[in-house]
């Protein structure tokens, strides 16, 4: 029977175990075994067309193999769909930088980052930046970080301030638009822009303070616009804008993307 061993088709005997395949192909020091996205033991029995990853964690040097194996735990039916997907993230702060990380981890092929701002120390409690990045433009720091997760990612940067005059143009032409602004008037502005341009928008609203995680939800506010958050909390003195709630909202936003992509992929 035929299986895929480390992304190459190989012929093995029916009902072979992983251990037998490792022996047959002289693979050494194997300490990562994954079949069809699930980590397994070497006693696992293989079936035709299984995707088997059998690697030594400390000796993965081939960049092509790294790129493929990075996506091994993702939904395999969406890999090609995500490679072609083109998204834009407007604002690369707490919401935007975490969305960028998750979108890259999903294997989305094309990401555009828009922000005008530099990293400052107050960002570090919830954003994907470190002390070494303070004073640097967020979009360039984030671009480098994302390419360390996936070197094949096509990541573009737009160093600009989004305004009422340029927003329609900046969010047009993408499969999905993610809003990551921190001011309410900019959030309202992008929703109105998505209404005009018909952009598929996923936005955030309400993530400040401390509350049960279950208060964060996702809802559809019009045909092409989704909103994630608690829908009421504002940043207040002493109450904080902290990583757990911000990450919850960002996760809701990317999860909605996953749901929509799965649905569309099934319909194609």
């Amino acid at each position: 029977m035929v299986i895929n061993l480390n992304y190459e088709q190989v012929e093995i005997a029916a009902n072979s175990t992983v251990a037998q395949v490792i022996t047959k192909f002289n693979l050494t020091n194997i300490d990562l075994i994954n079949i069809n996205g699930v980590n397994c033991q070497s006693t696992a029995i293989l079936a035709p067309n299984d995707n088997l990853l059998a690697l030594n964690k400390a000796a993965i040097l081939d960049s092509d193999l790294i790129a493929k194996a990075t996506m091994a735990r993702n939904d395999t039916s969406l890999i090609n769909y995500f490679l072609k997907l083109n998204i834009v993230i407007c604002g690369c702060g707490g919401i935007g930088s975490n969305i960028a990380r998750m979108a890259t981890q999903l294997g989305i092929g094309n990401i555009t980052l828009i922000d005008f701002d530099l990293v400052d120390p107050t960002n570090l409690n919830r954003q994907m930046y470190t002390i070494n990045h303070i004073g640097q433009p967020k979009i360039y720091v984030l671009q480098q970080y994302l390419q360390q997760i996936n070197p094949r990612l096509n990541v573009k940067t737009i160093d600009t301030t989004i305004t009422a005059d340029n927003i329609d143009r900046l969010i047009s032409g993408y499969d999905f638009v993610f809003e990551g602004f921190d001011t309410p008037h900019m959030k309202a502005l992008i929703v109105q822009s998505a209404m005009r341009t018909k952009a598929q928008l996923i936005c955030a609203n309400g993530m400040a303070g401390i509350k049960p995680a279950s208060k964060i939800t996702t809802r559809q506010i019009s045909q092409n616009i989704y909103m994630c958050g608690d829908f009421y909390s504002n940043v207040q003195p002493h109450e904080g804008l902290m990583a757990p709630q911000v990450n919850l909202v960002a996760s809701h936003m990317v999860n909605k993307l996953l749901e929509l992509c799965k649905e569309r992929n099934n319909n194609e």
């Binding site: 001011t183 309202a188 929703v191 506010i221 909103m227 804008l241």
Partner: protein
Amino acid sequence: MTINGKKTTINYQTINDIITSLQIIAANTVFTINSEIVDPSDYDQSLSEDDIIEIINFTSGG
């Protein structure tokens, strides 16, 4: 009309009436009428008694 899921007896004529009466910060807010987002240039359009209006007030943080 219904505003944010509640029937109201107040007969607002336009979105602008709602903004004024409820002291809403329009720049931070999006309105929907019957699940369609209203463009700010249409805030003076006449509302009908059957309209279902939602006021989405955006908050800070991101």
